[in-house]
């Protein structure tokens, strides 16, 4: 049935018998036949034909009525309109090509960005019933501490509260996987045994952990990712029950997750997990009875009990928090709040703003394109004004004309949209490479149905937007003016010219806004690139290794500072003797300046809660801390201001010392000398730490922040298992990592060595996301400028051709060609100035929204505004120059003879 319908549709579409030509021919033959009869009555041929024609009546009006009659129902009307439009478009291929190209550009770019927005922000997380998944966060709002972590007893409370079906921490970590040919560092998540049941995720091979496990310590089983399985084990189908060692502990591989399974983490590192291990979070290596106030579990996710909404769960959780605080007064000195957030928020929340900024920017480009096309259509409408007026005068229904114009516009926009989507589809691979890796859910980006529907809607919307201009204009036809021959020589209908000018001004304003946004971002980026770092990354390389944390701490070779010290000393000595190396130092990964990846991996790793001697012990502060060897400061190039740096006497038997930067000293001991002041960690039985030196501020945490407080502890006193070896000198970056690996494994063959990177690369990587935003917006701005230039070129061009007669008259009356040039350029300049003025005002407003993205640049930075406006006006003038030159060259004789 449906098939027959479509077949008849197609037949009607191709059915030739009612084309315009047929209509012509039929009417002509009617007149001829009548003339034949009249001829038989004795009239001459010419006279007969004339009489026949008069008898017949108005041919044009007729054709109009016939067209109405032929197209009876809506579909027929539509088909007729479409065929008429296609014919019109085929008649002017250049025009059609420009319009389709403009729309393709706009729709294609918008669709591409939307596909990213859709996959990242709009689609639900790829787990079963994702709206039931939440993350649980602890805050101490009274002292301004957020996301402080959860303790194991608190975890038990949540699990037993009945609010959640399952609760599981996600402790992101790294482990040394040994037992294969080479020790490898793997990215690991330590979870509760119900983690996979929580996500309702099934392995592709084997099984997940038993959700009911409740014994102390780790389950001796691990689940691995598909990529690890392929990379380390060659996709061996007999992988199950293979044993490996993770940080010297024996584990059995019991399951392999499917490809494309991503852990719900905040960063790329947290998502690309290679190994999952499960524990009940008490028992070795953790305490048997963990304390309630030892909040060592940083990220907790949960699945709500069936039927419970987040708000209902939140209120029950608030009640639970209040009752627990009353029950365990000593463990909650400060007001404790538990917050539930939808899991999706946690994963993608940070990207909401920059992505929407991008989407708005590209939407602006599309809008500018539409305005351009509207202008072009208006220009063409002027040329067809005569035809339209006649049809109107002869009784064609206004609605019909408008409908036809809109149909034309829609066909253009749909063609453009289809072309744009096709290009995006074809260039998918190339486009993916442009997206920074920090973006979550990258592998979910695709041209899904929702994206295609979006493209369709956007195309239709564009078609309506730019189709409205000529369609509405057609309703205000000044019939007499249009029909009048003299109408051609003047500037055309005043209404239409004003509309077109308004459109060009709108176009300019929008382009200018985009260009200023791009300019501000560029300025900001440039400033960041050239900022004084406060440290020297030149010729420095960092290579990482990791000491294992065995579950049985009694066999840990590196359990204490004293045990680890010989290893570090020896490693320093050996690496110092490598070719080209001038200086060596060792620190924890937090000491790698501007290294984003490590900082995010384990949220509590680099953070340190401490209380100060002489200050309220119940109001701890949270600071960033690093642990380093004494050579670190000189290697990295941070100068000492007062006091001293670490020396060889600061070891695990001496009192603990610290070096802080000026910002730290100023914040915690304002108006006092920080040297000699003491503080200690909030962990029970921590020793006092004394400040011995103050170093200069450096941008080690963020390029944009020169004033971040930084604390350095001595690695020989406060040991670290994750290590980074820093090497300065004329080193060959290709071979040094292997040399370092050789040295490390000569000391301990079970240690993996990885993550070799020059410090300059690390600094540059920290700008990756900003660079991406900036590049995107800059390319949009360039496109917008091009479109605006085309727009003004079109308008001035058309104006010149409309006023050819007038120009001819002026020239004939003695005006110099350069006067004409001046007039035309003046017209263009006026348009550009008005547009720029409007644009500048809008830009001031828009730039306020961008302040968070700008570093060190005033949102109303006069340098940026001024230079962009200047560039803009110059380009506009250049675009006017060509038609202005054409105006100059008008031959008065020809112009006056025209018509």
């Amino acid at each position: 049935m449906i098939l027959a319908y479509f077949r008849s549709l197609a037949a009607r579409f191709i059915h030739r018998s009612q084309t315009e030509n047929d209509l012509e021919e039929e009417l002509r033959s009617h007149i001829q036949l009548r003339a034949d009869d009249l001829e038989r009555f004795g009239l001459g041929r010419a006279e007969a034909e004339r009489r026949a024609r008069i008898e017949f009546g108005g041919e044009a009006r007729f054709k109009e009525e016939c067209r109405e009659a032929i197209a009876g129902n809506f579909l027929d009307i539509l088909i007729q309109d479409v065929r008429f439009s296609l014919r019109m478009l085929r008649k002017s291929p250049g025009f059609t090509a420009i319009v389709v190209l403009t729309i393709a550009l706009g729709v294609g770019a918008t669709t591409a960005i939307f596909s990213v927005v859709d996959a990242t922000l709009l689609q639900p997380l790829p787990y079963s019933q994702p709206e039931q998944l939440v993350s649980i966060q602890s805050d101490l709002p009274a002292i301004g501490a957020h996301d402080i972590g959860i303790s194991q007893p608190e975890l038990q409370d949540f699990q037993q509260s009945g609010i959640f079906e399952y609760v599981s921490p996600m402790w992101f970590d790294e482990n040394n996987l040994t037992g294969l040919s080479q020790p490898t560092r793997v990215r690991l998540t330590i979870v509760a045994s119900n983690y996979f049941a929580l996500l309702r995720a099934q392995p592709q091979l084997g099984r997940a952990f038993d959700p009911q496990y409740n014994s102390p310590g780790f389950i001796p089983e691990i689940v691995i990712s598909d990529s690890l399985w392929k990379r380390l084990f060659g996709g061996d189908p007999n992988i199950l029950d293979t044993s490996v060692r993770m940080d010297t502990d024996l584990y059995r591989i019991v399951g392999v997750m499917p490809p494309g399974f991503d852990a719900p983490g905040r960063t790329a590192e947290e998502r690309n997990i290679e190994v999952w291990a499960a524990t009940s979070f008490y028992g070795p290596p953790l305490p048997e009875h963990p304390a309630r106030n030892r909040r060592n579990l940083p990220t907790v996710i949960a699945r709500l009990s069936p039927g419970l909404t987040i708000s209902a769960a939140q209120s029950r959780l608030d009640a639970l928090a209040t009752s627990l605080q009353k029950q365990f007064l000593g463990d909650y000195p400060n007001d404790w709040k538990i917050r539930l957030r939808p899991l999706k928020e946690t994963v993608v929340g940070n990207f909401r703003r920059p992505l929407f900024l991008l989407l708005s920017a590209v939407g602006l480009v599309l809008l500018i394109g539409c305005v351009n096309v509207a202008n072009l259509l208006l220009a063409r409408a002027s040329a067809r004004a005569r035809e339209m007026a006649i049809r109107r005068a002869l009784g064609a229904d206004q609605a019909r004309l408008t409908r036809q114009l809109l149909t034309e516009s829609l066909i253009l926009s749909l063609l453009g949209g289809a072309a744009g989507v096709a290009v995006v589809f074809a260039g998918k691979q190339f486009l993916f490479r442009l997206v920074p890796e920090t973006l979550p859910r990258l592998n979910e980006i695709s041209l899904s149905w929702s994206v295609l529907i979006f493209a369709l809607l956007v195309s239709i919307l564009s078609g309506v937007i730019f189709g409205l201009a000529p369609a509405l204009n057609a309703t205000q036809l000044d019939l007499i003016h249009a029909l009048n021959q003299e109408g051609r020589g003047s500037t055309g209908s005043g209404e239409r010219a004003k509309t077109r000018r308004a459109l060009v001004i709108a176009e300019f304003a929008l382009s200018l806004v985009l260009m200023i946004a791009a300019g501000l971002l560029l300025h900001s980026f440039w400033d960041l690139l050239n900022v004084r770092l406060g440290f020297n990354p030149q010729s420095v390389m960092s290579v990482r290794t990791r000491l294992p944390y065995p579950n049985d701490t009694s066999i840990d070779k590196y359990a204490t500072a004293a045990q680890e010290a010989p290893f570090i000393h020896e490693l320093l000595r050996r690496c110092g003797s490598l070719p080209g190396v001038e200086e060596v130092a060792i620190g924890d990964p937090a000491s790698i300046p501007l290294d984003e990846s490590q900082r995010r991996l384990n949220a509590l790793e680099g953070k340190f809660f401490l209380t100060f001697d002489g200050k309220d012990p119940n109001a701890p502060s949270m600071v960033e801390r690093s642990r380093v060897t004494p050579e670190y400061f000189h290697l990295v190039g941070i100068p000492l201001r007062r006091g001293r740096l670490f020396n060889e006497f600061d070891n695990d038997t001496a009192r603990q010392v610290a070096v802080v930067n000026e910002a730290f000293a100023r914040i915690y001991w304002p108006n006092e000398d920080a040297i000699g002041k003491r503080f200690k960690s909030t962990r029970p039985d921590s020793p006092w730490i004394t400040v011995v030196g103050i170093i200069a501020n450096a941008r080690t945490q963020s390029l944009a922040d020169n004033d971040a407080p930084q604390l350095y502890l001595n690695i020989f006193q406060v040991p670290a298992k994750h290590l980074a070896v820093f090497l300065r000198g004329r080193i060959d970056t290709a071979i040094i990592p292997d040399r370092v690996r050789a040295q490390v494994q000569a000391l301990d063959p079970t240690l993996p060595v990885f993550g070799a990177q020059t410090l300059t690369q690390t600094v540059s990587d920290s700008l990756a996301q900003r660079r991406f935003s900036m590049e995107m917006i800059a390319s949009f701005a360039a496109t917008a400028l091009l479109l605006a230039a085309l727009g003004i070129y079109g308008v001035i061009s058309y104006m010149v051709s409309e006023r050819t007669q007038e120009i001819g008259i002026r020239l004939a009356l003695g005006a110099q060609p350069r006067n004409i040039l001046g007039i035309v350029l003046g017209q263009g300049l006026r348009l550009a100035l008005i547009g720029a003025g409007v644009g500048l005002i809008c830009a001031i407003g828009v730039s306020q929204l961008m302040t968070t993205l700008l570093y060190g640049v005033n949102p109303t930075d006069p340098l940026t505004f001024g230079s962009v406006a200047l560039l803009f006006i110059t380009v506009a003038l250049l675009a006017c120059y060509l038609p202005a030159r054409r105006a100059m060259r008008v031959n008065p004789m020809i112009a006056l003879r025209y018509e």
Binding site: S17, Q18, D22, E25, E26, L27, S29, H30, Q32, L33, R34, D36, E55, F56, G57, G58, R61, F62, E65, C66, E68, A69, I70, G72, D76
Partner: protein, 113 residues
């Protein structure tokens, strides 16, 4: 003097169908045929004819083909389809019933009580 009756709406279609039923015709021929069979009482406006023809074709009551006319002119000829023939029959019956009903109403005399 030719009396040009005003056509009731819908009757033009009926006349066209009847005219064409007597043999395939081109547009001009339909005009002539209607004038002829009505004894020159009904002269169709040339402008009204073609929209009606197209309408009837769209409704599937007429089918068309290009052919040579008597004096060798190329013209589009209209012919009844079976659906058209059926419609002609129905409309004619309906019309006759209508006419009979109106006629008897008009012939009614005041009742003598």
């Amino acid at each position: 003097m030719d009396y040009e009756a005003e056509l009731l709406p819908g009757t033009l279609d009926l006349l066209i169908l009847k005219a064409v039923s007597l043999g395939p015709l081109h547009g001009y021929g339909v005009l002539l045929r209607i004038a002829q069979i009505s004894g020159r009482a009904l002269l169709i406006q040339q402008g009204a004819l073609y929209p009606a023809l197209f309408r009837l074709e769209r409704q599937g009551l007429l089918k068309t083909s290009w052919d040579k006319s008597e004096n060798n002119r190329r013209a589009k000829f209209y012919e009844l389809t079976s659906k058209g023939r059926k419609r002609l029959r129905e409309e004619t019956d309906g019309w006759n019933r209508l006419v009979a009903a109106i006629a008897s109403s008009l012939a009614a005399q005041p009742q003598k009580t």
